[in-house]
Symmetry: C2
Amino acid sequence: MSKNISIQVIRRLPRYHRFLKELEAQGVERISSTKLASIMNATASQVRQDLNNFGGFGQQGYGYSVSGLKDEIDKILGLDKKHHAILLGAGNLGRAVATHMNFESLGFQLDAVFEKDEKIIGTMLRGLKICPDSKIESYCKEHYIDTAFLSLPKKSVSAIIEKLYNAGIRYYWNFSHFDIAKKYPDTIVENVHMSDSLMTLCYRINENKNI
Amino acid sequence: MSKNISIQVIRRLPRYHRFLKELEAQGVERISSTKLASIMNATASQVRQDLNNFGGFGQQGYGYSVSGLKDEIDKILGLDKKHHAILLGAGNLGRAVATHMNFESLGFQLDAVFEKDEKIIGTMLRGLKICPDSKIESYCKEHYIDTAFLSLPKKSVSAIIEKLYNAGIRYYWNFSHFDIAKKYPDTIVENVHMSDSLMTLCYRINENKNI
C-alpha cells in the first residue's frame, strides 16, 4: 500500500494524525480541507493533494470525516500494529521518554527497561522494574523484541549495538549520534538528534529565515 | 550570505559539523570528499555539491581542511554567536536537555531555568538555581533574552507563550505540540516532536522502507 509517497508527505502525516486526534477529542465530526489546512498551516490544495496520495477520503462539499481520516492515517502509519520494544538508558532522557510517550497509540509496546547504573537498577519506571544491562540478551531470547529505544550516549550505543543486532532487533529509535544504519544497513532507524535541531535553530536565527 | 540554499542542504549541515568536530578531535587535518562522503553515508559528488553551496572550500587533489571546513560551517550556522536563552520546565525532559546539551558550542547560552513545581524550585540544574515561573517576566526585563527552550506540555506552553512573546522572546526551541509559529508568525521556531518521530519509525517498519 501507499508506495512512492514522497518523504515530505510522510513526514507530514504524524502532524495530520495529531491534529485529527485533537479534533476527534473535541467532538468534531467533519472537517473541510480549508479548515484542516488552516490548522496545519498549509494551503487547502496542499491538504487535498497530500490526502489524495492515500486515495482521497474527502467528499466534495462534505469535507472529511475526522475519525475516518484519522483511522485511515492510523492504518497507513501502521499505528494499529504493536511492536515490542525495550528502552536502554533510564537517565533523565530515558525517564522523560518513558514517562511522556504514549507508546501504545504510536504502534509500540514498551516491555522492559535496561540500565547500567546500579543506583537506578531495581527502581520502577512506567510500571516496569528497571533491569541491569547484563540481562538484555537473555531477555530478548525469551521474549519477542523487535525494537529498541536508545536514550544512551554514542559510546554506550557503540558498545552494545552488536548485542542488540545479534538478538534480532532491527528497529531503532535512536537519540544518540551513533550511526546504526551505517553499521547495519538492514536496520530501520529513526534518529532524534537534538543538537542538530538546535544548530538548525541557530542557523535560522542567523539567516532570519523560515525553512 | 548563503541565500537560496535548499532545506535539504541546511538540514545536513549539522551532521557535517558533528563529523568534522569528531575528526578534528581525532587529530585528522585533511579529508577527501570521498572519505567525508563515506562518513556521511552519501556520495562524494553530493558532498562536493553540498559544500559548493558555500563557496567550495576543497582543493583538487588535497581534499578539505577539517578545521577550516568546520570553522566555515560554524560561521554559516552562526554557531559563533551567543544567543541568550531561558529553559522552561525542569522535569525529566528539561533536566535531560540541560544536562546533555553543549549549548555554548551550538550558539546559545543558558542563562536561567524556570519551573512551576515547588519541589523543584530552588534546586540546582547546570549550575543554575531553578526559579519560579512567576519570575519570568521580571527576569526577561532585567536581562536580554531572545530564546526560550520549552520542555513543557502543550497546555503549559499555551498558558505562558503570550508572556514570553511580550517579553520580546522571538526564538523558540519547542518540545511541545503547541504551534508557536502559527500564533506568532514573526517567531522562529524549531520543533522537536518526539511522537512524530516515533510514528515515522512505525510507518517505515510497516512499509519496510528507508525514507
